[in-house]
């Protein structure tokens, strides 16, 4: 079942076209990797899905993105609800300068619904466990999240997203700013999260894409060149550009 579908999606930064007629479908409880050289529009595309590009002045978007059958650029779309359902993890770990506990509960405290202290405690524990960082931080939940290492910060950021129970998690090069060990831990954790979440992940790390993703989309200069199950893309790419990129001939 396709959970997100983009149809003929164009995006312009002012006059400059950054995305060109993107047609793609994402499937539930899968990890999709978006690969391609720097500046080809991967982040831009990812940010159209939760409408983060709305924040940039001068952006024009044509075409359609459907999420659970609903047009996210339609007039009846509630952006706040959309972003709650599509969590986002950024390239640079960006915890708030608050305690770890306050970071994880931030999304919950935005909602109308009020939670008891016990409920919050439980969600914090569950989320941090799911993000594989509970053991690192369980004794210092009231310490500033900025006191953690980069890898721990990124996992707290993932826990912060998990706490609001989104349907989809968008990840923009979540491990590229981290050392290989932290990077590996996060990769494993994401693989485990696949049971419950649909994930779309931009990555520059080809082995990572091939290890954990179900499908891979290759972008080049704002075009979607090839989209197929990951095995096919890596073992048997149909397009010469894809092959060149994967074998490291450019990019």
């Amino acid at each position: 079942m396709a959970i997100i579908t983009s149809k003929d999606l164009d995006l312009f930064y002012g006059e400059k076209q950054a995305l060109n007629q993107i047609n793609i479908e994402f499937y539930e409880k899968e990890i999709t990797a978006l690969i391609g050289p720097s500046g080809c529009g991967k982040s831009t595309f990812l940010r159209t899905l939760n409408r983060m590009n709305d924040l940039i002045p001068g952006v024009t978007i044509n075409g359609e993105v459907q999420f659970n059958g609903q047009d996210i650029y339609g007039s009846s779309m509630d952006v706040v609800m959309l972003r709650k359902q599509m969590g986002m993890v950024f390239q640079q770990p960006n915890p708030f300068p608050f305690s770890i506990y306050d970071n994880v509960t931030y999304g919950l405290r935005l909602q109308q619904q009020t939670y008891t202290k016990e409920e919050l405690d439980q969600i914090v524990e569950e989320s941090l466990k799911a993000a594989a960082v509970w053991d690192d931080v369980k004794d210092k939940l009231n310490k500033s999240a900025l006191s953690l290492s980069g890898g721990q910060q990124q996992r707290v950021c993932i826990a912060r997203v998990l706490a609001v129970k989104p349907d989809v998690i968008l990840l923009d090069e979540p491990t590229s700013a981290l050392d290989p060990v932290s990077s590996g831990k996060i990769e494993e954790m994401l693989y485990d999260l696949k049971e419950d979440y649909t994930m779309i992940m931009v990555t520059h790390n080809m082995p990572q894409a091939s290890r954990i993703s179900d499908r891979t989309a290759f972008f080049l200069n704002g075009d979607l060149i090839e989209y197929a199950p990951t095995k096919e893309i890596f073992l048997n790419p149909k397009k010469i550009e894809t092959e060149n990129y994967i074998t490291g001939k450019f990019g």
Binding site: N50, M52, L55, V80, M81, R83, K84, G87, M88, F90, Q92, N94, P95, F96, P97, F98, Y106, G107, R109, L110, S144, L146, C157, R160, V161, V164
Partner: protein, 306 residues
């Protein structure tokens, strides 16, 4: 060969220049430090003379309620109670800061978060202009507009803490606002993005993330405004009434440390108690501004550690 020699000579020229530069800046710094130390020494030696030479008790000075340095009470002690002025200074300082803070935060949010274009085009120049207006102008406007208005509404003479508070509020507002703007601007963009991406509205983001992350900076701005208000002399002197009495209401004439100081310093003779005790007031001012400075640094450091 010649080429190489030339470049070598050039380099040594630059090195020489650098040494001269270092020497000059060291000289300047030494001069500044000397001036500061001299001021402290001068004010302290004069200000402390009240206690050591004239034998006034510190307690009588800080907590005495009657100020009339040229006369003595029944026990023959000079009437040098500075409490009315200390209270007056603290009251106008805190009241003006309390009133100015919400306005400054509101204006700063508007300028950074809601309408940055309008903010930088119109409000920024206006604020810079307001900062540059000499304080005598503020005092004059206070005298001709605020004082009569207070008189009409609350009765009395119109001079007093309320008028002083209002004038100081207008005077510190631009400074506090522009420092608050800097504090909000220095909140990294990625905090806002993280918040919005979690489904926060713009207001929730401002309220729960931007203001919270900027709190040390905002506190610094407020303390800075307070230190300006505390040290302001001219404008406040024109509207507060300059009666060295305990302020029993906001609209009765009162005095601040600065206003009594500026009024009295030319009318007393060096070396007398009347003169020395004014230096003691100056010493309080100096100590307070030092405290404000330490507070600002402390807040800054605490903010950084997070």
């Amino acid at each position: 060969m010649e080429h190489i020699r030339e470049s070598l000579i050039k380099k040594s020229k630059k090195a020489k220049l650098e040494q001269i530069g270092k020497f000059v800046s060291f000289l300047c710094i030494t001069l500044i430090v000397l001036v500061v130390v001299a001021i402290f020494y001068f004010v302290a030696s004069k200000g402390l003379a009240t206690f050591f030479d004239n034998g006034v008790h510190l307690k009588d000075f800080l907590f005495g309620k009657v100020w009339n340095p040229s006369s003595v009470d029944k026990q023959g002690k000079p009437l040098v109670g500075a409490l009315p002025m200390i209270m007056g200074s603290l009251l106008v300082t805190f009241l003006s800061a309390i009133v100015a803070t919400p306005f400054a935060i509101g204006a700063a949010i508007f300028m950074t978060e809601i309408s940055p274009k309008l903010g930088t085009k119109i409000l920024q120049p206006v604020i810079e202009l307001l900062v540059g207006i000499p304080s005598v102008v503020y005092g004059f406007i206070g005298l001709s507009v605020v004082v009569p208005a207070v008189r009409n509404v609350f009765g009395g003479s119109g001079f007093g803490i309320l008028s002083g508070t209002f004038v100081l509020f207008v005077m510190i507002l631009p400074t506090v606002t522009s420092m608050t703007v800097d504090a909000l601007k220095s909140v990294p963009r990625h905090y806002r993005e993280a918040s919005l991406a979690l489904g926060a509205t713009r207001w929730q983001t401002i309220y729960k993330v931007v203001l919270r992350a900027a709190t040390p900076g905002i506190m610094t701005a407020v303390v800075f405004g307070m230190s300006r208000a505390f040290g302001e002399a001219l404008a406040i002197q024109m509207v507060i009434g300059n009666a060295a009495l305990m302020p029993h209401s906001l609209t009765s004439p009162a005095a601040t440390l600065t206003s009594i100081l500026t009024m009295g310093i030319g009318n007393t003779i060096m070396g007398t108690l009347e003169n020395n005790v004014l230096w003691s007031l100056a010493l309080i001012l100096l100590t307070m501004s030092l405290l404000f400075n330490i507070l600002i640094r402390w807040i800054g450091k605490k903010g950084e550690m997070k």
